[in-house]
């Protein structure tokens, strides 16, 4: 069994004004996995993330890192935040320095690393996010997609074990979203544990190893994406929609073209592949690489 790196155990959280935000959250994050927290706006995804990083204290229950309940003393928190990085949704509030270089160096400098180490880490983070050519640009002149990447570089430069992305593709156009997914794939293959929150069901379905569905501050289900998305009442309850891959797959099964036992397609290539050829084979539709 893979190691559990991060865990929420019987976690409750109420905002200072008394609003109940999270209720009885139990979630285990396995080392190296790709986990998606899926839920509509206001389901409590971001609030849960703040817990993982020690930004909020739970009202009851606890967060464990590598099996140890985390401590909220300053020193322990610094150690935790070194290990668990969050890329917030709005890059505008993540980039608070005037130049890209300064911003990316903020985290490592705070860790008290030597200047050489900081410089090396910043360089590497800029390379990983393909933002090296932006190094000297003032942050406010960047495009939305560039800001997003620089904000990721700022977290990468701290070399965390677990990286949490809050609604990473919101506001990104298809190309930038693709590039982002590519970057995340690389991070994942380097062994990082990745948690993403989103309400984009297509992304959640295709990308994740495991899925947790949140609704009104609770985790109402978790498991393999292919299993969860075949429970329409669950999806409905969480105010979500079905991924189109599943809709088409089910449509084909319903019409009798695919046997019900066909495994669900994970990507559009999969889907197009499992559609069997018809005897008369004609085409003039363009095929996109």
């Amino acid at each position: 069994m893979p190691e559990i790196i991060l865990e929420a155990a019987a976690l409750d959280y109420s905002y200072p004004d008394g609003t109940n935000a999270l209720h009885n959250i139990n979630l285990q994050v396995k080392k190296g996995e790709k986990l998606t927290i899926l839920g509509s706006n206001g389901a409590g995804k971001s609030t849960l993330f703040m817990q993982f990083n020690g930004l909020y204290h739970p009202s009851s229950g606890c967060i464990k890192y590598q099996g140890q309940a985390i401590s909220y003393k300053t020193k322990a928190l610094i150690e935790l935040r070194k290990k668990v990085g969050i890329v917030f949704q709005d890059p505008d509030s993540q980039l608070f320095s005037s130049s890209v270089y300064q911003d990316v160096s903020f985290g490592p400098l705070n860790l008290g690393l030597s200047e050489q180490v900081v410089e090396a880490r910043v360089k590497q983070a800029l390379i990983d996010t393909e933002t090296t050519d932006l190094e000297d640009k003032p942050t406010h002149l960047l495009s939305y997609g560039q800001k997003k990447r620089v904000s990721i570089a700022g977290v990468l430069a701290m070399e965390p074990e677990v990286i949490i992305f809050d609604e990473p593709t919101a506001g990104l156009d298809p190309r930038h979203a693709r590039e982002f997914m590519h970057l995340v794939k690389n991070l994942s293959s380097e062994g990082k544990t990745i948690i993403i929150s989103t309400h984009d069901v297509d992304l959640a379905y295709s990308w994740s190893d495991r899925l947790a569905i949140m609704s009104s501050g609770e985790i109402i289900a978790h498991g393999k994406p292919g299993e969860l998305f075949l429970q329409p009442d669950l999806i409905e309850r969480a105010d979500l929609a079905l991924p189109w891959l599943i809709e088409v797959h089910c449509g084909l099964v319903a019409k009798g073209w695919l046997p019900p036992s066909t495994p669900l397609p994970k990507s559009k290539e999969d889907l197009l592949m499992i559609i069997p050829h018809s005897p008369e084979h004609l085409t003039n539709c363009p095929i996109i690489p």
Binding site: S97, S98, S99, P138, H140
Partner: protein
């Protein structure tokens, strides 16, 4: 002799601890609280504030007529000042307190506009945070919106004229502006509550020394911070 010295030292320690207890973590500028000034003094400071507010309103109207988007900018600047005052800044003594933003605002928007903005911010601080008050609005606006900004402005311009580097002018403007705000408040309290022996002077000195403990470090912290902010802004 040594026992007396010991007593003096213990008294000093008691004082420091007392201030820490009374000002645990939120030394909000130094606004005079609601109802603290007697009716006559409250009215006096309201009247004293009005001409400055009118001058401020006139100057804002003039600039807004030329640049209509400036109204939104001023509105947001006011909101910014409020948010600033609700944040804690690490003080050089280790405790933390809240910046006033007077120095920064004056350098960016000029002293006359600051009078109006300070008054508005003080209304919101009173109603939303219960810092300061409606009856004491006149007195608080006079110290934070008139004396503070005008002193800051004079020092900023003066220091620049004397050829001081930007950081020094900004630091002096913010720090001294802040200190003068607190001195004005102490004088206002002294005037309203003359001591039974020693009168206004004795009372003012008492207030000055009591609040010095939190206000002087705050002024220095704010000075440093204002310099850092202006440095970042001018790098833009």
């Amino acid at each position: 002799m040594t026992i007396r010295k010991l007593k003096m030292i213990s008294l000093l320690i008691t004082y420091v601890i007392a201030v820490y207890i009374f000002f645990p973590n939120d030394a909000y500028g130094m606004h005079i609280m609601e109802g603290f000034l007697p009716f006559n003094w409250a009215a006096f400071w309201w009247l004293a504030m009005i001409p400055f507010v009118i001058t401020g309103v006139r100057s804002i109207k003039k600039t807004v007529a030329l640049h209509p988007s400036l109204k939104m900018l001023l509105g947001m600047a006011g909101a910014f000042a409020f948010v600033l005052s609700a944040l804690k800044i690490p003080s050089v003594t280790g405790s933390s307190s809240h910046p006033t933003g007077v120095g920064l605002g004056t350098i960016l928007f000029g002293p006359t506009a600051m009078t109006v903005l300070a008054m508005i911010v003080l209304v919101f601080q009173a109603v939303l945070l219960a810092h300061g008050g409606i009856t004491t609005l006149g007195a608080n606006t006079f110290s934070m919106g008139v004396v503070g900004p005008f002193v800051s402005y004079a020092i900023y311009k003066g220091a620049k004229k004397l050829g001081a580097p930007l950081w020094l002018s900004v630091f002096l403007a913010a720090t001294i502006g802040n200190i003068m705000t607190y001195v004005t408040t102490a004088i206002q309290l002294g005037l309203a509550f003359p001591a039974a022996t020693g009168g206004v002077m004795a009372s003012t000195v008492k207030f000055l020394s009591i609040f010095a403990f939190t206000q002087v470090p705050l002024a220095i912290s704010e000075g440093i911070l204002t310099v850092m902010v202006i440095n970042i802004l001018s790098a833009y």
